[in-house]
Subunit: 351 residues, 4 copies
């Protein structure tokens, strides 16, 4: 690991970048790192534009306290982001395989003593690889999917649960007035946390997530039985990553069509889409992001590199990037929350 | 027009039904009619279930003050609704062409002195036809589309504008962080009011509505020019009723695909869907719906049938159903608001 | 009236200031004026800081398009505001009585062709006086009180109704759970519009406003009768401007105390305070403010000075400042909305 | 401890009561207990009215599945609540000292096998005392104060943080526009959790809580210094339980007055009041309350009485009521969150 230039033993110039999909709370995290680094440690803070692309193309600017003022409540990221994955090059095209080297070169040219990478699973993996390549790196986890290994929770998740639940709340009144089945498709390619939490918070009758394989016959029987028992409507919450036949672009649309075909019950779908990722972070996400940011700055000050800040057992702590990289935190089929939802009558389409 | 049974000259038994798509504020309107009818006039109020279907199948119950308590803020309709259009029968099937007659028969059997029809354009047309057939009818307009002729505004619209604008607000942060074009498709088969208002409230750069035919080339040039001028992102608001090629099920999805193909700019779409119609009504919709309801009860008390309550020039008034039936209130291409939006730099895709 | 310097007959440099209490939508109005003035007319736009104080102290800066970007949804005013009333000087202190002359002097020094004054009743009066003194002035009305004469509605009002109604909604659950009377005091020194609308939207049982003198005995009897009729709780909405005994600083606190003393019913009060004026404007306020702003720029372009933009009978129009100055739009005791609220069972404490 | 009547070894009749101040999520908890008890275990569930008062006066009714439908999102408590503390009698008045015995008597008469007590610190203490007296009791913690010992978090807290933070957000725009200091007083007699979280989430500059004694001089110096450094405004978040001079009824009002007197800076206060406890629970509170409810039913089924359900280290678990009773969970002055807030520049008025 690179030795940091230090002022009284403390790194004096750090960079921050935000990579992957945006989510609420990123700016609060930038502010948390920045304020602590500047106010407490007197560091210089460099904002890298548009994720790893900014390091490849050397686009950056100094983040001063005035940049950090008023961004606590702001959605998105003031630094911009991109899906650039520098290690995903083919190894054949020069402009591709040179990216990691360019990052290292520019890191040194800018004179960074540490790079803070705010992002999701992919970003943590890249951060780990850069750390292995000799950069001082600190990771800060963010995602609305809550699927980052090593931390109990990530910021962005609470905001997304709020948005998704509000949408489910709205569907109840329409479902009830028209005696319809309403299917809502939420984000979550691999992990069903968002659907699980929003589904429970919104009183979903059926919750389908990638981790719990469903059986269409069971779904149809369950919905038919509800109708037979004079439940006038049903709410079906579906994570976008559940298994559907090839060629179906949206599991929500697919399922709504199938339910109506098979049961004859009037069914409509809503694909909630990008609004799940946007807007001002929830208060709890602002707190978590601020604390993650502050914790990141403290790790740097201690020279404790190659780690990701985390929230575990109610405390802000950190884990090695090497433990996190390449893993995903999924919903277990016997998660206590799944069990409790079942006990209250919710079906997961599997039995 | 039928002569009302009156107690001291005032009708003593009235029915209420809610028909067509649900929207926020219907329950507030039911409460407005019911409370005024019961508290002020001592009428008996009958709730008809599921729109005109309830009159055809004779499903109804007495609405007492306790039914009306706590529903002011409730989304949907406590009476249920349906898309039943009793005059749309073929004239060939007996069970179809008999519907209007069944409605009249059951109206008389229940002993109604007036029927309050809460609904949209279709409902107002049916209400008019029933009035012509001898029933005492009062219409109360509701729709999130704001397209009912004869009234400046309908309840449901303000709530829908709130929901749609909040969604657009959320898209801004994602669009900005990723430098993307975000296309959002809103409800509105015929009328563009919702897209016009939400688009202006949400700072939409391009607003496409059915009333103003757009030209794809102009759209592409406009978006390209914004990108060339270093505007990092654009928000495109699209009403679902705009003209797109045959076979395209969603204009939002179609346009997003086209924009990316033609301009090469990264583009994503969101189809907001049913959440636009659900949930608790906005305060202003509660006020408007309550006032419409109270005004409806007052019309009945005066024996002023065959009319729809309306909001015109800042006042609650009423218009003849015969003037309303079969018409739609559309956005005019030279509406002052369209003009002002243009002056502030918004494009409607037409020039 | 001063003759404007014009470029092709159009004023080329205009100033904007915001005065009096802040409210949601001011920034949208600034943006509406600015965008239209710059994009459509090519004017130079000067932002004056902190209301009339900024003209007295010559504090200003050029507002460019980049200042106007992203402020549509922002609460407060980017220009700052103050309670400075330049004509309220004693006539004895030089620094006081010279203010109007300083304003005129600086207006000319800056080279303004017109001054846009965004504010409430007090601001419109000052704007009128400046117009009489030879300045080209256009007024844009804003207030959460909705009490500006000459316009059916002002921006800020809808947002405040939303906030106040949400608060009343919250009080319902506490009132119901504890079987309490909840008194909520809302803003409104002279006009009861906010209490009237929020009270109706929130299902207030008793609404007290300055325009309708109340009788404490009637209030107590009304609340006692509700309790006797097994209504488990009551919501009392009070405008801060209602008449209470001398020395009582808060009518809400006073009334809550009195109600509990006289009726013995458990009673609690909430004084909602400044949150009624803050935060992002509602979508409808953004639309209204944007349109008022655009209309203001259009008035200037036509050289139509000495007027206030207004919303009348569903249209954006304008009225002479001379007709507006010094007047207040109050709730009439026989306002149709008051009548309808009474018909649905609401009391105004007067009979 | 009493031996439960069991059907196949499982208690067959349980009672639920809700006591103390209401808060968002209580109905979700009632639903969680009730649904699990009925659906999974086939128990009969009795709702006791108005807290312990309902057991004293024998007011109760059977809670069926239809009572539990639609209450997940509802604020307050469908059972009603009261401040009745049955063990707080003087020992002199017969009607007072007999209360615990009446509770036992009626518990037996109704034929309860277990009593679920949903409430805060006071309720958990009473629950413990009843358990000691031989009743089968399970406690479920609720409070917006988050001060119940033995659980990391309680439902109600997240909702209250949301409401308080939204209020602080609104104050920012007014504070900024008028260059004022805004003081906001939040609930929290003993514990400062709500002020700490909302203050951090809302970007409060100064956070005053009961657990960290403040020094007025330090407060004044801090605010003056901010003003001197051209920070145009400051937000001061104050828990209602902080120390102020005798006779001052509201610390928020007191401090605002003092700040203005001492610093001369314009200062306003807002006392947020009861809206912090009302309205629909946040999604996360609905999840937590549902899970607490389900966990409570599971404890009963296992005959595991005398315990309170809890959330510890990310898991739903339970603790002995004997460990909880009489304790309060306060903010420690060296809580990591306090430390991080300081590092980002927030003052707690103590140094």
């Amino acid at each position: 690991m690179a030795k940091a230039n230090r002022k009284n033993g403390i790194p004096k110039k750090i960079g921050i970048l935000t990579a992957g999909g945006d989510c609420p709370g990123i700016n609060a995290a930038i502010r948390g790192v920045g304020k602590t680094a500047i106010v407490k440690y007197g560091m210089t803070v460099i904002g890298i534009s548009d994720g790893f692309a900014g390091l490849i193309h050397k686009e950056f600017f100094e983040l001063t306290e005035s940049h950090l003022s008023g961004i606590l409540t702001l959605g998105g990221t003031i630094l911009g982001t991109s899906r650039e994955k520098p290690f995903k090059g083919t190894g054949k095209k020069k402009e591709e395989f040179r990216k990691p080297m360019l990052i290292k070169e520019h890191y040194e040219q800018i004179g960074l003593d540490c790079l803070v990478c705010i992002g999701g699973n992919g970003t943590m993996k890249t951060a780990y690889m850069l750390a292995e390549g000799g950069l001082n790196v600190v990771g800060i986890p963010k995602t609305i999917d809550n699927d980052i290994w090593g931390t109990d929770v990530t910021f962005g998740f609470d905001s997304a649960v709020n948005i998704a639940t509000e949408a489910i709340d709205r569907l109840h009144s329409t479902a009830n007035s028209h005696k319809r089945i309403m299917v809502i498709e939420l984000m979550g390619h691999n992990a069903g946390w968002l659907s699980l939490y929003s589904g429970m918070a919104g009183g979903g009758d059926l919750i389908l997530i990638p981790e719990i394989p469903h059986d269409e016959k069971i779904i149809m029987d369950y919905l038919q039985k509800r109708a037979d028992n004079n439940k006038p409507y049903s709410i079906v919450v579906v994570a976008e990553g559940i298994n559907v036949p090839d060629g179906e672009s949206s599991p929500g649309r697919y399922l709504a069509r199938r339910i109506q075909e098979v049961t004859g019950l009037e069914t409509r779908e809503t694909v909630l889409g990008y609004i799940q990722r946007g807007g001002s972070p929830s208060p709890m996400d602002r707190v978590l992001a601020s604390r993650f940011g502050a914790a990141g700055a403290n790790l740097i000050a201690k020279g404790d590199f190659g780690r990701m800040v985390a929230h575990r057992n109610g405390e802000i702590t950190s884990v090695k990037l090497s433990e996190v990289a390449g893993k995903t935190k999924l919903v277990s089929a016997d998660d206590p929350m799944v069990k409790q939802a079942r006990e209250m009558g919710t079906s997961f389409g599997d039995c």
